[in-house]
Amino acid sequence: MSLVLEDVKRVANLACIEISDEEARSMLDQLTGIFCLIEQMQAVNTSTIAPMSHAQDVVQRLRMDVVTEADQHELFQSLAPQVEAGFYLVPKVIE
């Protein structure tokens, strides 16, 4: 499998990252080299191996369904680029 320029542009779009044609071409070269290395994985037969997502065999802990966090929205929202009346402001989506 080899990457083409359209793949780079498609993935950049999915990741919400703007990329110019020139940047896409240089990114394609770099990613082609990296995926060439990654392709080494395909040489190993793993049909009987279970995927490993975590090193330790642990289960998700449960807790009581109670509020554990104090309300600090004013502090947290003080970091936001644009806030009004406790809401985060974003450009209008629906006319």
Partner: protein, 486 residues
């Protein structure tokens, strides 16, 4: 005082031979003189550091001090620190004053340590040379034309140049061990799950692990005593009894079996590194350890697997940076999607974008099984290799990095070459095993060489014992770069 161990500093503080305020001022002064050249710190805040030092002096005076109370510690800028600028080396967070403390910071605060400053790092911990930082590269104090390694390059440099007695770091594929090796200091990445990831800005969540960088194994043990602890706010934090990591330091190594993976010694290691690693192993032989050959047959796959899993998790984790709740927002945009795109495009640097694209690709429709699931399966094989090897030995050794520090700019335009810097460290990360690097002498042009020590799960106390015994007979860890102006 600059070369003193944490224990020596603690004794001086306890005996009131020096106050925490005096100690803090001394290190702040050194940072002021040296940081312009080394760029190890992104943020220094004299007033906040001195306030903590005053609190520590009060604790000491009232007899409620802990072993590290009053000692200045540098923190990697990946740890959210309340009231401090916390940038993660990125433009994206260049004005982010953290509203809360990471669990690790909470624990250091409780222990009464002084935050001496926030250290420079590769952007979002993605890099092996500290050159991807928005705040510019860190210089290696042994040779300022070379890199300090990464991503915890600022922390390793700060300890090496004695700008801080010890520092925190994080390691996803080698980010504590490789810079420790390149800067001639000691560093340990504990077993995955021992140090809480709460408030540690996420890169690849199934691999990220905090750990200390210090001058010696004995200092690392004291740092781990503070850093390790259960935290319900990190879903992968492990609930275990608190350990004293200093407990086994003095044990003799008689009968210890050290495994040397034949794959680590096959190819890729430079001659100077090989020579020093061999010499260190010969020293262990003299200390009574038995050297056995082991095999980790899937070693070669660890870099391909790592560069699928880590970018995949990163692309998901970094999707939170959208210019809405915190972080950089573009000044001009046409609509909501354009705001997301422009904010992210402006806020992230080239390496971060590259990894987001790799991650997005391997997780995208039609490729998920071929890449992500495949890599997770191979991850199990890599972990099984270690399990087999640990039937024949208690400790695995090899080089931390294939070469000594390389020149600034030498690999920054070739990501593939840079990724290969993690050849020996990524496998232990994938398996979730503890790994450490200690100074083992000097290679070409007097640049430090690191000895890599990998232990089984939860064997940190034994690894520290193994490192400490070496540091009792060898003095590489006491060497410091020739810094005349401070």
């Amino acid at each position: 005082m600059l070369n003193s161990s944490l224990k020596q500093l603690s004794t001086l503080l306890e005996a009131k031979k020096v106050s925490s305020v005096e100690l803090t001022r001394e290190f702040l002064r050194r940072i002021q003189v040296l940081n312009q050249e080394y760029n190890a710190f992104i943020t220094v805040n004299e007033e906040m550091s001195l306030n903590q030092a005053r609190t520590a002096d009060t604790m000491i005076a009232s007899g409620v001090a802990c072993p590290l109370t009053g000692i200045p510690i540098a923190h990697k800028d990946i740890f959210c620190t309340k009231g401090w600028l916390t940038t993660c080396g990125s433009k994206m967070l260049s004005s982010f004053i953290s509203p809360y403390d990471a669990h690790v910071i909470e624990r250091f605060n409780k222990a009464g340590t002084v935050n001496i400053g926030k250290t420079n790092m590769d952007e979002f911990a993605m890099g092996s040379s500290n050159e991807t930082s928005f705040y510019g590269p860190v210089k290696n104090p042994w040779d300022i034309t070379t890199v300090p390694g990464g991503s915890s390059g600022g922390s390793a440099c700060a300890v090496a140049a004695r700008m801080a007695p010890a520092a925190t770091g994080t390691d996803t594929g080698g980010s504590i061990r490789q810079p420790a090796a390149l800067c001639g200091v000691s560093g340990i990445k504990p077993t995955y799950g021992l140090v809480s990831r709460y408030g540690m800005i996420a890169f690849a969540s199934s691999l990220d692990q905090g750990g200390p960088i210090a001058k010696s194994a004995a200092d690392l043990a004291l740092m781990l005593n503070v850093m390790v602890g259960f935290d319900a706010r990190d879903s992968t934090s492990l609930l275990r009894d608190q350990e004293d990591y200093t407990r086994d330091l003095e044990k003799p190594l008689e009968g210890l079996r050290i495994g040397l993976p034949k794959e680590y010694f096959a190819e890729g290691m430079s001659d100077d590194v090989s020579r020093m690693v061999d010499a260190a192993i010969a020293e262990y032989n003299k200390l009574g350890a038995k050297i056995v050959e082991v095999s980790l047959p899937n070693t070669k796959l660890s870099i391909p697997v790592y560069y699928v899993l880590a970018p995949a998790e990163a692309s998901s984790n970094l999707s939170r940076f959208d210019g809405v709740r915190y972080g950089h927002r573009a000044l001009e945009y046409a609509d909501l999607n354009d705001m997301y795109r422009k904010s992210r495009t402006q806020g992230f640097g080239a390496e971060v974008k590259r990894r987001i694209l790799i991650g997005t690709y391997v997780l995208s429709h039609g490729y998920y099984d071929a890449y992500y699931i495949k890599a997770q399966k191979l991850r199990r094989l890599i972990a099984q290799d270690f399990a087999e090897a640990f039937k024949q030995c208690e400790i695995i050794m090899g080089p931390t990095s294939p070469t000594v520090a390389f020149a600034l700019g030498e690999k920054s335009s070739d990501p593939l070459q840079m990724y290969l810097s993690d050849t020996y460290t990524a496998a232990a990360s994938l398996a979730g095993l503890p790994g450490m690097s200690i100074p083992a002498g000097f290679g070409n042009r007097n640049r430090p060489v690191g000895l890599h020590i990998i232990g089984n799960y939860f064997s940190e106390a034994q690894m520290l014992n193994v490192a400490h015994q070496y540091q009792q007979v060898m003095d590489w860890h006491t060497r410091m770069p020739d810094i005349t102006k401070a």
